[in-house]
Symmetry: C2
């Protein structure tokens, strides 16, 4: 009987007060278009009736604004949350987006073999942040046509982006290791595969053929290679981008006769795993073996990891700003990188 048969809408308020629906709408979104007395009266009545402001759906449909910024994860959500890099990026992004009164919607990108996922197409968003390249460009294209602004973390001709110079990051590491006299070097790269750890001698083509080529990965290795002419460069593929996977991959290159004198992990999470693997074998990082990471996440810095710093949180903030503000002047941005030398690297052992 006394059930709530109809929801409270602007119409309810309008009828009760004898004003038009538009006026009620204005009370919320354009306060200067009506007398403040009436506005107060409307808001008071709203509170009385339990009306909690304009419905997002109606508003979104009519005005086309949702005040939501999508964040597209590659692979599973779990992978995103297991890497401090993603988390810090997300933190910066949220912070910036919040300033515009918007929120962040986490979207899972379908894996390459999944059928097109409706989750992304169905998202009600004003802008979409796309992480490291991910096959399904057609979905993104469709969203773009619908007026969704796209912001990427890698250069792209059509969209806005905020990135770092990954090749330079690689070169910084290469130069550092060259100066320390390292010649036998292993690279740990994430591969997103279930297979066993795979180790092979580096060449650009071979790397591309083994992993879904992610620009940030190939660029980093390329830069590294550039500054290490004549070095013996191996690549070990890690199952995914986690500490444990880094540990396993490192094990594969450490447990051989002529182990490398330096190990470069393409991200700090992997580098932490390398550290674990080294410690377990009684090797002291920086003395018996050099370890370098990328991204300079706090956990690694804390241990004394030599790493290429990038302003991750600032990157997130900038991305958020680009996403929410179509008038922000600079729309394709490269942030600086810097090698932070700590205790995990040292001269190559002389044996």
């Amino acid at each position: 009987m006394g059930e709530k048969l109809t929801a409270v809408t602007m119409k309810t308020l309008a009828n009760k007060l004898g004003v038009s629906v538009t006026t009620v709408s204005n009370a919320y979104s354009k306060p200067d278009r009506l007398s403040s007395e009436l506005r107060d009266q409307i808001l008071a009545t709203a509170k009385d009736l339990g009306y909690c402001g304009p419905s997002a759906a109606g508003r979104a449909l009519r005005s086309g604004k949702t005040d939501v910024c999508g964040f597209l994860f590659r692979g599973g959500i779990s992978s995103a949350f297991s890497d401090p890099y993603s988390i810090m990026l997300l933190a910066g992004l949220s912070e910036a987006v919040e300033v515009y009164g918007a929120s962040v919607l986490l979207l899972r990108a379908p894996a390459a073999d999944e059928e097109d996922n409706q989750v992304v197409r169905r998202a009600a968003i004003d802008a979409l942040v796309v992480g490291p390249t991910y096959g399904q460009e057609s979905e993104i294209e469709a969203l773009r046509q619908r007026g969704v602004r796209i912001v990427r973390t890698e250069p792209s001709p059509e969209d806005d982006w905020v990135t770092i110079n990954d090749a330079k990051a690689g070169r910084l590491v290469g130069k550092h290791l060259a100066q320390l006299g390292h010649h036998r070097i292993a690279v740990i790269a994430p591969a997103d595969t279930d297979e066993d750890v795979d180790v092979f001698d580096y060449s650009p083509d071979r790397l591309d053929s083994r992993i879904t080529p992610q620009p940030w990965e190939t660029e980093r290795v390329r830069g590294l290679w550039e500054k290490l002419p004549g070095a013996h460069l191996q690549v070990a593929l890690a199952r995914d981008c986690t500490r444990q996977a880094g540990r396993e991959a490192a094990a594969a290159v450490l447990d051989v006769q002529d182990r490398p004198t330096a190990i470069v992990a393409l991200s700090d999470v992997l580098a932490l795993g390398v550290w674990d693997a080294a410690s377990e074998r009684g090797l002291t990082p920086g003395r018996d073996i050099s370890i370098v990471g990328f991204d300079d996440i706090p956990d690694a810095a804390f241990l004394g990891m030599t790493s290429v710093h990038q302003p991750i949180t600032d990157k997130g903030r900038l991305i958020g700003r680009l996403a929410m503000d179509p008038d922000y002047p600079q729309r394709q941005i490269t942030l600086p990188v810097e090698l932070i030398v700590r205790s995990s690297t040292g001269p190559a052992p002389k044996n």
Copy 2:
């Protein structure tokens, strides 16, 4: 001239194919209501015209479903991302929510002193996950009236929840420390304040008056107290729930004449800070001083922290299920806790 004046909608498709809009709609959401030939034809045409599926706004308005689950953060987003607990919870939540084809929307709860934030009211969500209690119940109430399902991480008469028995968690720790012979104990509690570290002798009332009473905090201390009759229990308030804050708070209780023999941090992140503070003073956890945390996060487990384990990711998953499935039978769930004894606790030193 050739600008895109009108977006491609279902109407566009319907006109082009000479069918009704409803049929186009059905092609997407009710495939069994039309012949598969026609459906294929519609989808093909959609691809041709660059139509990317039903607009979320229209769909949300008419059907009332958004396929979005809100997650309300207390305090700033930054605090949420700085605690592995939140992140693991979020990971589990996302994973579960995804199964229902939905996504997670991150919402920042306004601080107590901010004016009501529209972000929350404007959110287009089917369900809302509310973390540790947060003042603005009226906003939540309004959403509830609009049909948004509320799921909490703490017991609540009106809503669904998934929680742990915090008092029991406290008792487990208390019992453990009692058995080890500890009598001088300090508790590190997060306070969300900018003031200096504050240390005082424990009593339920005093604790409540110092911090915004969060049930999980007060319950944990209460349980602890229960199993430590006659012990000298101090409380030190940490600025917030970060490692650094834990370190500072621990410093305040360590740098005194009769320092406690055991320190209980109300969360593992804080406990890590305590560990740092102890190490800096040359104290070995488990021998010179015992340290206990809660939540059993990987970083702490890795170091050997004694902690009360709770299935955080599963908690997130369950919360997601409750949020997305109104028919899930059990709607108020208490998950088990378990004390994991590691190297950070040991017998109280005899001096």
